[in-house]
């Protein structure tokens, strides 16, 4: 970050500001003229994001052509805020284009483009189609502002805007009341996280006198450790809100109320990773405070574990994926927490591919079975929708860490880094466990949907989705399968070198186990989990999965082995999952609701003072006068001594 260049005129970086601006303009156009444009509006939306994707690619290529030490550019457009003269605060509308931003640009624009195309088919029958595309565009623009922000403040602007868009999109089908509630919850929880971010920002400004990354990050070593710890913790509070980590993860599963492409784009591939991006962006800061980093990693590990456990017991195909997202985000935080920022970002990228794919596949399935979301009422869809099934299988293998898929490389890297960090062995153990659980619930997900006997309702005619939906699936499947090539080995993979100018390097400390053993342990646990899930749900009559009554008894009588499963695996597992889910609902939700209720309670008491009588108001004025006099008196007494 020391060597910041101004982009040469006429280069793609010089025009990089068009990347967020074009989708934003398109969003405005669609919001105003959407009704008149009708079908055309989707074309406008796709063209605009396509433009951004092309330009992002050109930016990437341009950066690659530059010498390694000259890949950090700041493109200043104009002043946004300027206060207090020369030594005051000055925030520009400026883009920071560096290797980290460039890979994020690629992810957001290309995955965004695919999801736009997918929505063409998915939202074809919705009357508010233009509005939906406008929101999607607006979201893409906001996310692009976030990843190209050159200062904490511009990043924060994007940060809030993506939250707003997510809120609009989650509540897109507001006809259902609980959807609106989910949207409100998402917004309020995120605001709680934002408190941390905002305070961190003010603290940064008070300490460094600037908010630009180029000013602040090189100077972190000059600041007092206490301040850095506070800033690091507060930024992480913001990150836990946006990236759904303990204790602020409750909103993400509820946010699945939104249309599926939205879940794929916002709640899987891009927005929720903003917290990871923030920590990676601020990596020089976290490098100074390794203990806070370790805390980040522990929170990530705990979240990964809890969310994976909950995912094992869910029956809604999107909620499973939502908890899985929370869990995978936990992995990313393990990566950035232990100090291997490349590993965290790497997992962010591969997860972007396979989780987007999983969500889109889920949408495709819902499309086929008349918007059913209960995986107990699916099954046997493999032959009906082969493209969706095969691409899903690839994604499932990737997320489970099957060798040589993208998830394999990125997850191994995260776990290896955890193992290499002294004091993080516990995290590694948890991570391995979660890997097994991930394989288990994803196998369950896949088997219950695509294999086994058909259980869908009468009158449903499953069919493969139109090409506009399957094409993105195929493209993403290629990415999920081959994404690992980005960084085949932690030491000299492509991404590792590419991100060097942007993020702090990882100081490995030697593994506490040999590499082979590490790899073996992870693979072994994952294989056991995956096989267990597959066998369990292939063999069992699916009616036993959470459905009581006669069906369950019948199943029991047929397979005695179920009894064993039930006692050894299912019961404790389910109990744990239920406990976590209950904690999620009552504990965390309860805390959030409790806070709201407490505020309302205080307000109700306060409201009583508002009697409506002039005499009591006058009394209040008098009391206030006395209060002020008392304050002055204490000020004079204590201030005089001071």
């Amino acid at each position: 970050m020391e060597n910041v260049l101004t982009p040469p005129a006429g280069s793609p970086v010089d025009f990089a500001w068009l990347i967020p601006v074009v989708p934003a303009l398109s969003a405005g156009l669609l919001l105003v003229f959407g009704k008149r444009l009708g079908r055309l509006s989707s074309a406008v939306a796709i063209l605009s994001i396509g433009f951004s994707a092309t330009l992002s690619t050109m930016v990437f290529a341009f950066l690659q052509a530059q010498p390694e030490e000259g890949r950090v550019f700041v493109r200043t457009l104009g002043t946004w805020l300027s206060v207090g003269g020369a030594d005051g605060l000055r925030v520009d509308w400026a883009l920071l284009i560096d290797p980290l931003a460039s890979v994020m640009l690629l992810l957001v624009t290309w995955v965004g483009l695919l999801i736009h195309v997918y929505s063409l088919g998915y939202m074809a029958h919705d009357e508010r189609n233009p509005q939906f595309f406008a929101y999607l565009n607006l979201f893409a623009a906001s996310m692009l502002i976030l990843v190209t922000g050159s200062s904490f403040l511009t990043l924060f602007v994007g940060w809030e805007l993506v939250g707003l868009c997510s809120y609009l999109l989650v509540g897109f089908w507001f006809e259902r009341r609980d959807y609106a509630t989910a949207a409100k919850k998402a917004f309020v929880v995120n605001r709680i996280g934002d408190v941390g971010f905002m305070i961190a920002m003010f603290l940064i400004f008070a300490t460094f006198g600037s908010l630009t990354f180029a000013d602040v990050l090189p100077a972190v070593s000059t600041a007092a450790t206490g301040v850095l710890i506070a800033v690091g913790l507060l930024l992480f509070v913001g990150a836990t809100g946006k990236s759904a980590q303990i204790p602020l993860f409750v909103w993400l599963p509820d946010a699945m109320a939104g249309p599926t492409p939205v879940s794929a784009l916002i709640h899987a591939a891009t927005m929720v990773t903003a917290g990871v991006y923030l920590v990676a962006r601020a990596s020089p800061l976290y490098l100074e405070i390794p203990d806070v980093g370790l805390l980040v990693a522990w929170v990530g590990a705990a979240t990964a574990f809890v969310a994976a456990a909950i995912a094992c017991a869910q029956v809604d195909l999107k909620r499973i994926l939502a908890y899985s997202t929370v869990s995978q985000l936990g992995y990313m935080f393990i990566g950035v927490g232990v100090g291997d920022y490349t590993a965290g970002v790497f997992h962010l990228l591969t997860h972007g591919f396979f989780k987007a794919l999983l969500f889109l596949a889920a949408g495709s399935v819902m499309h086929a079975v008349a918007d059913e979301t209960d995986i107990r009422r699916m099954g046997g869809l493999f032959s009906k929708m082969p493209v969706t099934a095969v691409t899903s299988l690839i994604a499932v293998l990737a997320i489970a860490g099957f060798p040589y898929t993208s998830g394999f490389f990125s997850k191994e890297e995260v776990l290896a880094s955890a193992a290499a960090r002294p004091g993080a062995q516990g995290i590694w153990v948890l991570g391995i466990l979660v890997a097994g659980m991930t394989a288990f619930y994803m196998a369950r997900w896949f088997v219950l949907i695509f294999l086994g006997s058909p259980r869908w309702a009468e009158g449903v005619r499953p069919h493969e989705s139109p090409p506009s939906m399957t094409l993105p699936l195929v493209v993403l499947a290629v990415g999920s399968a081959a994404g690992g090539l980005l960084n085949t080995s932690p030491e000299d993979g492509f991404l590792h070198h590419w991100l060097e100018p942007s993020v702090a390097a990882f100081a490995a400390d030697g593994h506490f186990l040999s590499e082979g053993l590490l790899l073996g342990a992870a693979l072994g646990v994952a294989a056991v989990g995956g096989l267990l899930g597959a066998l369990l749900y292939l063999r069992v009559d699916v009616a036993t999965v959470g459905v009581g009554g006669g069906a369950r008894n019948a199943a029991r009588r047929r397979y005695y082995v179920d009894e064993v499963y039930e006692t050894i695996v299912m019961r404790p597992g389910r109990a744990m999952a239920d406990a976590f889910a209950a904690f999620d609902r009552r504990g965390i939700d309860g805390a959030v609701n409790g806070l709201a209720r407490m505020t309302a309670g205080v307000a109700t008491v306060g409201r009583r003072t508002q009697t409506g009588f002039v005499r009591s108001y006058a009394l209040a004025v008098l009391a206030g006068t006395v209060l002020i006099a008392a304050l002055f008196a204490s000020g004079v007494v204590f201030g005089g001594i001071r």
């Binding site: 805020l81 602007v157 940060w159 809030e160 509540g171 709680i192 505020t599 307000a603 006068t625």
Partner: protein
């Protein structure tokens, strides 16, 4: 004849009338509008009479002093009002509204001219006559950055209020002739308050604006709520005026002067903290605190805001606050800065109380107007952060905040006025359910204003909050900023509640038959203008505003 012969020829003493030119414009237009209304059917004759006198006066001044610009303008204005009266002689309300709008626009124009002189862009002989480091008109009036900026804020508020009021007042059958003159008189008081350099002037200005607002608050004579609002505002206002006056008397007692700057100098040269000085400051805080609705002097706000006619509520919330804060700033941050060790802790506590109480109490409100009333209290608290910073950044932050708040407030109350017009009743949050579907444009506008009030980045509200928070941090009041952030999170909740009701809930049963919204041109224009300002200052132009406010953050000494 013999008496007249003894009087020497016309000599114009050196009185810097230009220092209060915006007030003169506002007041003059107010009187004119009142006269034309009083004259009834004879308004054309009355207008001609005014034209005749004004033209004669202007001509005489032009001949005897060889000035051409000022008399020319006066003559043109006189001709203009006659032309307007001639055109709309059968539509007295429209005429009145037009005159008021022109009056506000004219006052903005005059203030811009003063600003040119202030910022040194206008170099001329008469620039020095009214802009300087000293206060003018016998130490009564200060034409400094804070005064000029606030004058513009107040006049902009008036300019937006006029079109918002027109159809609303028509609909509620409260469209009487005094409405616009009172608005102009209130604005006169406010601009005067913003530029008072003397405590006596502060008091007079507060009385001028309050008396007008008492009447405006109760303008819906037949509405019990409106009556209640007016009476409460009047009684409590009188009470707080008394306390303010007491404070002024004590200041005079300690320092021997009612001039704000002189009193400040005398205060700072006191050897030890003196009881009487402290009591004076306490009472002044009470007086200003009442006008700016700071906890615990805010009790009147929700009742009065709820009862007053909605456009007036918007105007009161925005412009009164701006003017009172300007005077508050001039007295404390300007003159009493050397004593800041004694009063900043007090205002610190009040700021914290105000932010928290405003936000928390708003949560449980169901009436949207009342909720916005409490939110206005919370916003006064945010403004106080810039206040206790006691530095230039703080003053500039306060100015920015108040200007932006003016548009947020007028915009949101404007949309409410629009809705009330149709529903013929106050709006509860439940009444807004599904509004986004039926009337997407007004609902979208309201959502924009609410998001801005919540301080979401990308809106002007964020720029405003950021400006004061930054000043607070710079001055070392980090804890206060943390409280402010917490308060704004609580506040976000109830703003979002309205948005959720509008966009994500269904239209309640039985409302489908409701008449469609028919926004008048004036209302649409007022709301759209506020929204445009909101977006412009939130996204591409904030630096312009912040820059201007930075230049304006000065006081005369």
């Amino acid at each position: 004849m013999t008496l007249l012969a003894q009087i020497p020829p016309l000599q114009i003493p050196d009185i810097a009338w230009s220092a209060i030119s915006p007030e003169l414009v506002l007041f003059g237009v107010g009187i004119l509008a009142l006269l034309l209304d009083t004259a009834g059917p004879q308004r054309l004759q009355a207008s001609f009479l005014v034209f005749g006198f004004a033209a004669a006066g202007a001509g005489y001044i032009a001949l005897s002093t060889e000035q051409s610009v000022l008399p020319g303008l006066v003559g043109l204005a006189a001709l203009g009002q006659f032309a307007l009266t001639a055109i709309w002689r059968d539509r007295p309300r429209l005429l009145s509204a037009l005159l008021a709008a022109l009056g506000f626009a004219g006052a903005i124009g005059v203030t811009t001219w003063q600003w040119g002189a202030y910022s040194g862009r206008l170099v001329g002989a008469d620039a020095a006559t009214f802009v300087g480091t000293d206060s003018l008109l016998g130490g009564m009036v200060a034409v400094d950055g804070v005064a000029l900026f606030t004058r513009v804020t107040v006049c902009l508020a008036g300019l937006v209020t006029v079109p918002l009021s027109f159809a609303y007042a028509e609909e509620r059958r409260i469209h009487r002739g005094e409405y616009y003159p009172l608005l102009l008189f209130a604005a006169t008081g406010m601009t005067l308050l913003a530029s008072s350099a003397d405590f006596i002037m502060v008091f007079i200005a507060i009385e001028v604006l309050s008396l007008s607002l008492y009447i405006l608050a109760g303008f819906a004579k037949r509405d019990l709520n409106s009556q209640e609002a007016a009476l409460k505002y009047f009684l409590l206002g009188a009470f707080s005026s008394a306390l303010l006056l007491y404070g002024i008397a004590l200041v005079y007692g300690v320092t021997g002067s009612t001039n704000i700057a002189e009193a400040g100098r005398a205060f700072s040269s006191l050897d030890a903290p003196q009881g009487m000085a402290v009591a004076a400051m306490a009472l002044l805080i009470v007086g200003f605190g009442f006008k700016t609705a700071i906890v615990p002097f805010h009790m009147w706000t929700p009742d009065v805001y709820q009862g007053a006619p909605t456009p007036i509520t918007g105007f009161m919330a925005a412009a009164t606050k701006a003017a009172a804060f300007a005077a508050f700033l001039r007295v404390f941050v300007g003159a009493f800065a050397p004593l800041q060790w004694s009063w900043t802790p007090v205002l610190w506590v009040l700021a914290a109380l105000t932010m928290l109480a405003g936000a928390i109490l708003a949560v449980v409100q169901n009436d949207v107007k009342r909720m916005l009333g409490y939110s206005a209290v919370a916003h006064a608290g945010y403004v106080l952060i810039g206040f206790v910073a006691v530095n230039r950044a703080g003053v500039s932050g306060v100015l920015v905040y108040l200007l932006i708040y003016t548009f947020m407030s007028l915009g949101s109350f404007g949309v409410l006025a629009l809705l009330e017009r149709r529903n013929h009743k106050a709006m509860a949050i439940d009444d807004l359910r599904g509004l986004g579907r039926r009337d997407p444009v007004p609902a979208g506008m309201l959502a924009l204003f609410l998001l801005s009030l919540a301080g979401i980045p990308g809106t002007a509200g964020f720029v405003a909050k950021f400006a004061v928070f930054r000043a607070g941090i710079e001055a070392g009041h980090a804890a206060l900023v943390v409280i402010a952030v917490v308060s704004s999170v609580i506040a976000a909740f109830f703003y979002i509640r309205v948005i959720v009701a509008m966009f994500m809930e269904d239209v309640p049963e039985g409302v489908a038959a409701e008449a469609p919204l028919a926004p008048s041109t004036g209302m649409s224009a007022g709301i759209a203008f506020s929204a445009a300002v909101m977006v412009a200052f939130g996204t591409v132009l904030p630096f312009l505003l912040v820059d201007l406010a930075d230049q304006a953050a000065t006081f005369v000494s």
